[in-house]
Symmetry: C2
């Protein structure tokens, strides 16, 4: 097997998870370079890595550049992808900036790895919420066609970065201090001062906003699911609508997905499709539903609670849980890198 010179740009939660995925999946790394805004050493799972300051000349000799960093409001790829591509690297970008560009394949390998070959240097990693939903629905669409998807998400704070995780932790710890020696009657659930990680306290709360609002009242997260689904599935006719909600969970997003197929389909056919889906772990018994606390750190997309809506033909529910930092970001990018390497 060939080897590649790999760069990881950005060493936040996703960048660090990329290092883990490269190692765990024995990605054939010839040399590995890490880039960030400042030079430093970081330690991940007992191994120390050197972080170099990023610059437009950082990519000489790099074959694959995994982008997971930000530069102000945008992804670091906005500033550096062009230079990386010019230097001969294939950029796999976890940011949102290039996803909808016509010349950029938007890839969930299980669903549309065939589009990787069309890249002109940049390949985009989809939004976490979209990735796990489409990994789950992939075979349903291929076998029976998807007419409509309605999604409600229960999203972990890790999707908002490490500081958001620390925010949930800090709020919980602060409430713990406030509540020392108290019983339930006097147990305080609300802080005077929140961590600032979200627009409101996230501990013991849910926040139905992820990203900014558009003129129609949808959030950017909700619209990413709509647009990215059509592009990845290669089918503009699929109707998609969603409500995305932040919940006080550290890692792994959960999704209640309601879908309607174009062709007539039975529950048994769907079960077969889920069992034969790449990257999916399907639970047949209703009580074997997945929960985010168990899925964090896992690679698979967990599908459970398949139910037919008795009042609506070819309409079904599933419950989908995946680690948003792994399958929803780092792992998906490394899977793309594996496919890129195979084609080189």
């Amino acid at each position: 097997m060939k080897q590649a010179n790999v760069a990881v740009v950005g060493v936040g939660a996703v960048g660090i998870e990329m290092l883990r995925c490269l190692k765990q999946r024995k990605f054939p790394v010839k040399t590995l370079r890490l880039f960030g805004r400042s030079a430093r050493d970081i330690t991940v799972d007992g191994e120390t890595y050197k972080v170099e300051v990023i610059g437009k000349n950082s990519f000489e000799g790099i074959d694959i550049a995994l982008f997971a960093g930000t530069e102000g409001e945008k992804g670091a790829a906005v500033t550096y992808a062009k230079a990386a591509v010019k230097a001969g690297a294939v950029v796999i970008d976890n940011g949102a900036d290039f996803r909808m560009k016509k010349t950029v394949p938007l890839v969930v390998p299980e669903v549309n790895r065939h589009t990787i070959k069309d890249n002109q240097g940049i390949i985009a990693n989809p939004n976490c919420t979209t990735i796990q939903m489409l990994t789950a629905l992939n075979q349903v669409h291929k076998r029976f066609g998807l007419k409509q998807i309605i999604l409600c998400s229960y999203q972990a704070v890790s999707g908002a970065g490490k500081q958001a995780c620390i925010g949930l932790m800090d709020e919980t710890v602060a409430l713990g201090k406030q509540n020392v020696g108290t019983n339930y009657e006097t147990y305080a659930k609300k802080l005077e001062k929140t961590s600032g990680a979200f627009s409101a306290q996230i501990a013991f709360n849910v926040i139905p906003q992820i990203g900014g609002f558009d003129d129609e009242g949808f959030t950017s997260e909700e619209m990413k699911v709509v647009h990215e689904t059509k592009k990845i599935m290669g089918d503009k006719k699929i109707k998609v609508s969603s409500t995305c909600v932040r919940v006080p969970v550290f890692g792994a997003h959960s999704e209640a997905v309601y879908f309607v197929t174009r062709e007539n389909v039975t529950r048994e056919q769907l079960e077969k499709a889920f069992k034969e889906s790449e990257g999916v772990c399907y639970a047949e018994k209703p009580e074997d539903f997945a929960k985010p606390l168990d899925v964090e750190g896992k690679d698979a997309t967990y599908v459970s609670r398949l139910r037919a809506d008795a009042q609506n033909k070819n309409a079904f529910w599933i419950w989908v849980v995946a680690d948003n930092i792994r399958k929803g970001a780092a792992l998906n990018a490394v899977q793309i890198a594996e496919d890129v390497l195979k084609r080189k």
Copy 2:
């Protein structure tokens, strides 16, 4: 105004909230008697109440009996409602046992208080999840007709009783002790031993199961929403389907509700309907969405984040939050009692 002799049966979370609602709403109580499984004194908001042992002879002279207790697996009304009715009381039952009986009105006052007059001694209080959804959708259905409702819930632990709240508190406190002096890298999110309040740890987790599973894989909570909606709306044609999920929030349920109207409707018409809806507090601006931590203890049903699904005609989303112990249980029952008293 007439006065009534009132009995409250069961002094758990809902029974205690009934006492608060009676007092706060200045319900014209002539005499108030509390019944439970054991005789004792309880203190609520600084006031002490005497709890008497319940028996089939407890209801002599009672005009209105609010049932919020359980007797084994069933509601206390299964054992005592008949005796209460025989003694001349009108029973308002928060339990699930009588809700679907033809002779029992199932009432959300804002929606169908006209059915109260048909009671034969027992009136049922609907499930909390159904109550807030229908309070929110009431005027939409009356003005434009509802064709379909798809619901995903984010339900507070208080819906599972006081012990479940203590469970979430205990799990959080135990994690706090486990985490003393640690930073985020070593922060433990998972307990070796959970509180036992739910089938899994609820702190930092979500559990997509409320009630037992039926043969189709739906939970009892999910099917209550389906059946109760049709009965309360008086319209069997409304298609309803739901996924009900427990989240680590103490009080107030949140719901992402997707609905399709029969008649053509504009966003403006819907806004007007929500603004003119009894019991509804409507937020026009997307950023003014309600959160459970702010709604706990409030009487209104909060509707926000109205959005039109651009790809599906007459289809919209709303975000609905209400205190499940107040509007979802105690307050709704006391509102029914007020209507009963007006008719007496």
